[in-house]
Structure formats: structure tokens, C-alpha cells
Symmetry: C2
Subunit: 386 residues, 2 copies
């Protein structure tokens, strides 16, 4: 039997790693169990930090969470850089939404009205404005909107920084997969059991295994919240050998399709993202590669000349109301932190802080307390509406 | 100074490997110098053996070469299999050409007339015939033609078989790059000099370095024939886990674009190919990936659901008249075997036999003798007309 820690995390994706690092920074002894930390959905993600663009009709409480999450990012990135010396690629780059046809334009205008109604910072752009900000945009772009508060982080740089930060802070990274939670006679969590047959005891167990969370066993029925996989393909292109190809994240509406291009400091561009309900399948499909490139080249014709580096697919952990599940469950000493869907990177720092605060105080702080893990949903929603 | 051999090949692509194996089979001592045998254009190629589909107006002599080359394939594949035990994936699968619009249909009909004029085996197919032969074809296919004599080989299986065959036959595979030919006082070739600073002496030097052939130094001006790189992108998809997804190679005309899908026995499908004049660049471009998938999914809608395995690019060694350069040069004891352009796999056995025969007899046998290495061209042709 291995050494007991204060906390054990099942899952070392962006949420598990961020929360483990935060907990270790606060003096807790921490273990993360994951067969390949950071190599799941976190490795595929584009790393957009987009509280404004991700705001949606009917999800005002979620938008407030996004804004609070965004506010915690600069401090988090700065603390991590100080702790490790690595640059996470956090950049306050702003984003522009652009429309390719009149219907796309009308949709962006509606979103602008909604954003202004919530007091969000966003301004209408003419077609000329769009091309002044991002000269590579197609002449076909009809106009759009500027969201100066939507930023980005380099997903892979962040993952590697967090792993390094965890190691420096004494977090034990255990290469194995959690298959169940162990409970004591009173039904409280005592640790995790792994595929490799090990038991890791801990004062608190946090399930942060993304889409694999609901498959973790050993628990009474109904303890774990409903999380389903929403597959996303992302392509990585290289526009130039070095230096960002353009400055703002571009979020396009392409004849009703959502598309984005995120420029990295190294000259690469992340193009996303498809959204598919196909269970746990992460096969890269030719139709998705085609669709990503089809939309991207309509937004930015130069895409045709850019290097195609890779296309990979990951599984976003989606919840019925698109809000995450962060906090205690009905099993004592068992927390969950999953369901972050399209916003795992945006929500990672605030989730990490909330998990650490709950462990210290027994309460989930606002605004994450607005989304209790055991909240009920009016009816089954199986499809994504985004 | 290394041991002298009867023959040294500069380049171990499909031509160098096939000729080296053939020479060794005939009792010669052989060395092949290549930094990565078989990993250039041969690794990218689809492996189509298509004397009929590749026949073109004005290239009747070349078509006769293709037919002779095709006739040598079954014996070559059989001998290689006997020697190594490996299956090269040579399959007498036949090919169908299919048309997506009326103009494509008219073009295939014209080609059929030309093929019939040359006595080639090809027959017109209705749209229903096409879908009977290849049920995955789009309902939009307008009809086409059947070329029962166009076959395929698995390019990578063949390359690996040839490497194994060479090793078994005592061929020395030297991982280095030839930079120049060494000459004696009378100007005859004595061996090759490598990037690594070695000299490999041989009775005969054969330059089979594909598009890198013209860069080989140490020779008087005008000795080496004009070969230029024509870039081609190929995508590899997986249609099903095992067993061929359909039986015939599909060659599509998609609104004037040439596209092909080659089904492999393992359930994968090779999709090709672009044709670009971009010098020695082998970067995979996003526009090429898009274009390959764009055409393939119009021919076979199920492509969208297939796994995208990879897209890579290679450089075809093209000559001004699309015919290869195989035989002696003005430098004694120096042969070349390059310029095979789109038909390196089809022409590999006949090229190998001709090189071995030349070394034994001092003559290039027909029909390759119709294309002497020092033939002159009426005017510079820099673009591909295919």
C-alpha cells in the first residue's frame, strides 16, 4: 500500500493538473493518477479563453462564471511562470468574430446585442475594420465584432508548465488509471483503486477524469453527475516559420458553421473545431479534416499555402446545461471537477482555486457554488446546442 | 577505402532497389548508397500500375513501354515473393475511370477512343455499371470506363520486400548520400563520393537518385539528363479495419480534376494526387489536403466517415517528354536510371531488367532503347501537362 496523501486526483488533464498544482501550492500533499497526464482533451484543445464569445442566450449565470474565470487568468499565468520559469503562452490577444454572408452578419449582430445587454465589452466592426485588424482575412468577410476581453493560452505549453510545476511542488504523478473509488464502512471515500491494482489512500478524493469520470466505479448509483463526450477535431497548421501570423483569434461564422483560427507565437495556427456526438471514439475522420479546412480557407485564403501539421480529435466532457460540475458529492470526502465542456482552459484556474478552497474550508466559493454537483436537470438533453 | 563492387547505385528508391536486387540476382556484387532507402517518393506513391489509364495523346511510344512494363510485373512480383516470402501486394485488380459531369464524361469517351485506336483493353461503363463494380461510388457518377489491365502494388510492402530481397542477395546497403561521381584520368566513372566522405569504387556506377540526380557532382556539364521535381500529395485513409473496401482502383474526373482512390487489402485507401511545380519543397500544404479530400468525397461520399491516417508529399522525377532516362551516358561506366515521373512502380521491373542487361551486354534492350539518355528536346517544357 502506497503512502497516503492529503488529496488524490483521478485524472491529470487540464483540470486535474491545475487543481493539483494549486493544492500543492497551498501546502497539501497531492497525488495525480493518470496514464498520460495532459494527453487527452487538453492536448487537442485550442486554448481559447473566451468569456465573451462563449456567452450564450439563456446561459447568463454561466457567462458570469466565465468572466470571473477570465479575471483569474493573468494572476494564475503569472504565478505559474514564476514557479516554473516557463512561458505558458497566455496572451491578452483579443478576438474578432467575422461573418461571411448576410445571415452570418445578422447572427453576429444579435450576439452583440446580447453581449451589450450583459455589459460585456464588444464592438461592431465593418469589413474594412476586420481586415485592418487581421489582414489575412478574405475579401469576402462581411464584417464582424471585436471582443477585446477574449484571450488565449498555448494549451500544450500550459500542460507542460503545469506538469513541471506539479513536480517542483512535490506532487506525485502516478502513471496508472483509476478504476474505482474505495469507501470506508460509513461510505466515505478513502482513496482510489487503479487498473494496475494499486490503492492510493487520501484525505480527499477528486475525480477530474473528464469524459471518463462517469465510468469510475465503487460508488452508489447517482453519485456521479451526467457527463457525455462531445468529440472535437482540431487541425494544426503552420503559417510561417516564426512569429504570429496575425494577432487576434479569429472566430468565423461561415455560412452558419462555426470556425476559428488561433494564431500562436511560433507561427502556427490552431484551426477548430468540429462538434460530434459519437461516444468515446477519437478516430480522426476525413470528413472532419475536410470541413475544418473548408471553412478556414474561406475565412483566410492563405490557408491553402500553409503547412498542414496534424489533425487530432479529443472528447470534451459536456454537461446537460453546459456548466461544469465542481464540488462535493453525496459521498463524504469525494469531490468531482469535470463537465467543463468547451471551456476547460478558461475555467481551469477558478476550478483549481475552488477545489483547494473547498478542501480547506468545506465550501465551494462563488461563483462556482451556483452549479452544485447534484443539481437536477428538467429533461434529458443529449445533443449539443452550440 | 571500402571494398569495390561490380555496381554501385546512387539512390535506393523504387528504381535503385529494384535494379540492385535484379543485378544481385544475376550474380553481381552490388552496393546501394542512400540515407533512407525507400523513404523518398517511393514511400509516398500510390503504387498504381496503370499502362492504360496513363496512356496519353502523343505518347504512343511511351504507352508501348508501359504495356511491356506491365507484362513484366507478374513474373517480377512472383520472383520477389519466392526470394523473400513477403507479399508485395501486387494485385491484378483492374481500374475504373469515372466521370462526375458531362464534360468529364466526354473526356473519358475521348480517351476510350484513343485507347481503342492503340488496341488497348478498355470498355465503356454506364453509371449503373460503375456502381455495380464499386458500390461506394456517389450516385452523382455519370458513367466511365473499365481498364481491366491496370493493376496495383502496395508501394510500402514492395519497398520493404525489395530491401529484404537485397539484404538476402548480399547487396550492401550504405546509409549515406552520394554527392559526386569519381572519374579516372580518361574520364570514366570509377565510383561515388558520399556526404560522409567515403569513396565507393565500382565497375559500373548507376545514378538512380530520382529528383536529386541532377545535383550529383563531379561530371562534365550536360552529362546528366534534365529531371525536375513535380510535387505530389497523397492522403492515406482507412475505410475499414480489414479487407478491401472495394475492388477496383477508382480514377475519377471531378469537374476536370484528376483524382484516384486505390483500395488496399488491409482496408486502407490511398487517395491521390496533387501535381505541383514547387521545386524541392515537400511540405504538406493545407490546400492540397483539402483538394484531395474535396475530390475524393465527391466520388465516394463515405470518405467523410473514413479515418484520416496521414497526408504526405513526395517529388516525382519528371522528364521533358514524360519518358524515363535509363541507360548509358557519355561518361564510360556511368549509367542513369531516373525520370520515371508518375510511373516509377510500373516501370521498376523493366528498368531493373534493362539496367542488368546493359551491364551484362553493353546494350539497352527494347523497348527502353527508344528513350536514350542523351536524347534532345525540341524546346524547354517546364510545366506538367498532366
Amino acid at each position: 500500500m502506497a503512502e497516503t496523501t492529503d488529496v488524490v486526483f483521478a485524472g491529470g488533464g487540464i483540470i486535474g493538473l491545475a487543481a493539483a498544482w494549486e493544492a500543492a501550492q497551498r501546502g497539501l500533499s497531492v497525488r495525480v493518477v493518470d496514464p498520460a497526464p495532459g494527453r487527452g482533451a487538453a492536448w487537442v484543445a485550442a486554448g481559447m479563453l473566451a468569456p465573451v464569445t462563449e456567452s450564450s442566450f439563456g446561459e447568463e449565470a454561466l457567462t458570469r462564471l466565465f468572466l470571473a474565470a477570465s479575471a483569474s487568468w493573468p494572476g494564475f499565468a503569472s504565478r505559474l511562470k514564476t514557479a516554473t520559469g516557463w512561458d505558458t503562452g497566455f496572451r491578452a490577444c483579443g478576438a474578432i468574430a467575422v461573418a461571411l454572408d448576410a445571415s452570418d452578419r445578422a447572427q453576429i449582430d444579435q450576439l452583440l446585442d446580447f453581449q451589450h445587454g450583459l455589459g460585456l465589452e464588444a464592438s461592431r466592426l465593418s469589413a474594412t475594420d476586420c481586415r485592418s485588424l487581421v489582414p489575412v482575412l478574405s475579401p469576402a468577410v462581411r464584417g464582424g465584432a471585436l471582443m477585446p476581453g477574449d484571450h488565449q493560452v498555448d494549451n500544450r505549453a500550459l500542460v507542460l508548465s503545469l506538469i513541471d510545476g506539479c513536480v517542483r511542488a512535490g506532487v506525485k504523478l502516478t502513471s496508472d488509471r483509476v478504476v474505482s473509488v474505495s469507501l470506508d464502512r460509513k461510505g466515505a471515500a478513502t482513496g482510489v483503486v487503479t487498473e494496475g491494482g494499486e490503492i492510493y489512500l487520501a484525505g480527499t478524493v477528486v475525480l477530474a477524469a473528464g469524459v471518463d469520470t462517469p465510468a469510475i466505479g465503487g460508488l452508489p448509483e447517482g453519485v456521479l453527475p451526467p457527463v457525455r463526450p462531445v468529440k472535437g477535431h482540431v487541425a494544426r497548421l503552420r503559417a510561417q516559420p516564426d512569429g504570429e501570423a496575425f494577432s487576434h483569434t479569429v472566430r468565423g461564422l461561415v455560412h452558419g458553421h462555426h470556425s476559428y483560427l488561433v494564431p500562436r507565437a511560433d507561427g502556427s495556427v490552431v484551426v477548430g473545431a468540429t462538434s460530434e456526438e459519437r461516444g468515446y471514439d477519437t478516430t480522426v475522420q476525413a470528413g472532419a479534416v475536410h470541413s475544418l479546412l473548408d471553412d478556414a480557407r474561406l475565412l483566410v485564403p492563405a490557408v491553402d499555402e500553409w503547412e498542414f501539421v496534424e489533425c487530432i480529435a479529443g472528447l470534451r466532457p459536456a454537461s446537460p446545461d453546459n456548466a461544469p460540475f465542481v464540488g462535493p458529492t453525496s459521498v463524504p470526502r469525494l469531490l468531482v471537477a469535470t463537465g467543463h465542456y468547451r471551456n476547460g482552459f478558461l475555467l481551469a484556474p477558478i476550478t483549481a482555486e475552488s477545489v483547494a478552497t473547498y478542501i480547506a474550508t468545506g465550501s465551494v466559493p462563488p461563483p462556482l457554488d451556483a452549479f452544485p454537483v447534484d443539481r437536477r436537470f428538467p429533461a434529458a438533453r443529449t445533443g449539443s446546442d452550440l
